[in-house]
Amino acid sequence: MIELLGNLSEHLGLPVNASSHGHMLDQMNGWVHWLMIILFVGWGIFFILTLVKFGFLNKEKVDCEGVKSHAGTYGEYAVILFEAFLLVGFAVPLWSLVKTDLPDVTDETVEIRVVAQQFAWNIHYPGIDGKFGRTYATLVDEEVNPIGLDRSSPHGADDIVTLNQMHLPVNKQTIIYLSSKDVIHSFSLPEMRVKQDAIPGMSTPIFFTPIMTTDEFLLEIKGSAREGKGFEIACAQLCGNSHYRMRGFLTIDTEEEYNAWLDEEAELLEEEGDDDDW
């Protein structure tokens, strides 16, 4: 029974889940929708019965007292109880699990920064040393240095900055420090069940663990309307005229692929560094 109840989420048309916490959010969503359906169907049946009985059939006498049973009141108590259950049982623990209990950073954690701007996502990797260089608004140059990274700052030389291309290794805890250069955006990864506003002047941490590589995902969605298209980063907050196409790409790699990609990017950086002194 519980199985069945919890599984309503599978019929809500949610995107494929690809993060370790996602199924819990989905399950909660399933529970809430059960409550909604029960209430709606319950009252709906009562409603239709009443309309038939007192609208079309009974035309003589009005019964002023109406309903004598206390079913309505019990129903209300049931709703209250259910809501309390959802709050205590799901909402509170889940919120800390997915939003506020920031995990400790270990060697295994992937830390990156994401800086949103009209209308692109800048992804900032700390490079080999694992530490981010400093960024300054004054150094911003849309062509070559969109996040204003100071290459001469202590940890800045090896940092990797990509545009709209985010790579993450599978099954690793990821922490993203999210901010924005200009207006409010919202960093949304529908398949990861991640959404967080990117607010200028603020750096907000988000964390999740992807559990499915892009290749696996592509296999999973074979035959659906989006066949052949991998994970994407969506902007969920109105941010200007091109909000509708502020799209980034997320690739979940295996460990090896990820490291290979990082190396490749580091090489690129070196080549650039030769003819361009910061």
Binding site: I199, S203, P205
Partner: protein, 117 residues
């Protein structure tokens, strides 16, 4: 209200006036005194300053605006308003304290000679 009542009121107005004057000077004076445990938050000074202001406000409201002797309906309206007022004031503070994000992460950018471009 009878003539005598009013006469009585007028006496109160004068007294309140004098008290308000005194408190104004007091609050200015107090602002030069250092009540603070830490210079960062100045909580002592804020507390003293607002306490005096609240007392002044109370006197204006209760005497000049006759709130010490008003009808029930008006107390209801104001009670409700004050409740929401306090709410409106306190949430931003609590909010800031409970924000996940870090609002002071970006140190002010150094002034670079010539800047960019």
């Amino acid at each position: 209200m009878s003539h005598d009542d009013i006469q009585h009121h007028v006496k109160t107005y004068i007294k309140v006036f004098i008290a308000l004057m005194f408190l104004t000077l007091l609050t200015v004076g107090a602002s030069y005194i250092d009540f603070d445990i830490s210079p960062q938050f100045r909580s002592g000074a804020i507390f003293v300053g607002l306490a005096i202001a609240s007392f002044k406000g109370y006197m204006v409201a209760s005497e000049f605006m006759h709130l010490n002797n008003e009808k029930k309906m008006i107390y209801w309206v104001l009670g409700l308003t004050v409740f929401f007022f306090i709410f409106c004031l306190s949430i931003p503070v609590l909010w800031e304290a409970n924000l996940m994000g870090d609002t002071n992460f970006e140190q002010s950018p150094p002034k670079i000679e010539g800047g960019h471009h």
